[in-house]
Amino acid sequence: MMDVCGVDSAEGLFAHLPEAARLRRPLDLPVGISEYEIVDYFRRRAAENANGYASFLGAGAYNHFRPVLVDAVASRGEFLTSYTPYQAEISQGTLTAIFEFQTMICQLTGMDVANASMYDGSTAVPEAVMMAARLTGKGRALIAKSVHPEYRETLRTYAKNQGMLVEEFGYAPEAGTIDLDDLDRRMDGATAAVVVQSPNFFGIVDQVKAAGEIAHRRGALLILIFTEAVSLGILDPPAEPDIVAGELQSFAISPSYGGPFAGIIATREKYMRQMPGRLVGQTTDSRGNRAFCLTLSTREQHIRRERATSNICTNQALIALMATVFMTVYGKQGLRELAVQNLAKAHYLAARLKPRFSAHFFNEFVVRLEGRSPEQANKLLLKKKIIGGLPLAGFYPELSDCMLLCATEMSRCADMDALSEVLS
């Protein structure tokens, strides 16, 4: 091969590079190791993490069973090692699965169109807000304090550079739902979007309809966020949102220390051309067979460049596929039963403790502790090999005596009993 290329040695291939740019020493990295050593390296790292603990953490990443079929499908080389389906004729597998994914997200959220996924729920928020800004021509967003704190932080990072004003409105201190008066006071005609989460960060089913009325009255769009996708199995999708954005990690995506996850954006048909991210559409081939392809590509960066709806060049295809398999395995009845099990587990636990807020909740709730701090309680729980809830002091100083607990279908009665013993 080197003969064909006309070089004597590997060095000949790089001879044209400026000498000053060349690295003339070996990389300061150890030599390669064998497969067994690689597996062992990661096994040892895994052993340095929590192993065999019962966990009551939620807060944007949830412990749910992963049906065995998920990895059986996602491990197939044809899905795992394939590229973005730009060449439709040899990517119908990926394209068909995405079309099904888009459909199921619409069915779950009650919206008309859904994209092929965003990086995650947190980045879907600024994308949705920028979409609302383009649609309304306005430059301000109002976001509830009860939206996941790290999602709000992410929005602020993006908004700052778009000249977008972001303001927060509060939550009702007893109920835990959004403070509608606060929202109403802050609302104005220059607002592009009102952003609420339901179930919110505190696990509470929030007042989406009322928020929508306030937003629409002043010409803003309503953006609804969700972090716990399992809730879609039982919660009625509100009609008020113009854009729904959220996180699908609960659908068979391993918590995996925070990623990779998959977000979605879903919206009404009239807003379709302002959606960011990939879209798969149905069409026919020249023989009249049904076929699928990427479509409405002119929204995207590779065509519209600096005037694109977003710079995004990925859809978390493999992750979205896992979610698609999950949704298929559970199906219409299963998603409901799964959600209802989550309700039962969390409400069993809550009955043994004192939820801090009075409004309805799904599978997460806030508990106020007396006598000891959440951090101290968690230390005691760790001795019983239980990871307790998330202490809220870091995110909500006014709730520093509280922790956020989550119970799912994976939570066991005995562990919940042990937890409530320590916390009450």
Binding site: R273, S297, T298, I303, R304, R307
Partner: protein, 127 residues
């Protein structure tokens, strides 16, 4: 090929002036270059348009092209049929594929645009 009573821009738009109304479209050369048109983005009624500035865009599957207005004025009509049938723009770019009608602020300004013969020559030279 190119209607005599139109005027043309080097960006391949045409304008037909009738009194103080100007009808604007893109030329046959433009639609051929773009290929199958899939979507046309047009301004709203009442919008003010400036000469030489973009008044919207035309999309094919793989490209977007801005439409630069040959004249300034106020949008008084928009070709609604293109929303459902953008292919009209390919089939009949000088007729049924018109884009917008303006109430021209300065009808005389179009006189410095290319005539049909000049535009024809320009397109030929580009090839």
């Amino acid at each position: 090929m190119y209607p005599e009573n139109f005027r043309y821009t080097k960006e391949h738009e045409w304008v037909l002036v009738e009194g103080d109304t100007g009808t604007i479209g893109i030329t046959d050369h433009a639609q051929e270059e773009l290929g199958d048109i899939v979507y046309v983005d047009l301004p709203k009624l009442g919008a003010r348009v400036e000469r030489g500035k973009s008044l919207g865009s035309v999309e094919s599957v793989k490209a977007v092209s801005d439409i630069y207005s040959p004249a300034g004025g106020e949008v008084v009509a928009v070709n609604e049929t293109l929303a459902d049938a953008p292919e009209a723009l390919n089939r009949d770019p000088h007729g049924a594929g018109w884009l917008v009608k303006l109430r021209l602020s300065a009808p005389a300004e179009i006189l410095d645009l290319l005539t049909a013969a000049e535009y024809q020559a320009y397109v030929e030279a580009e090839k």
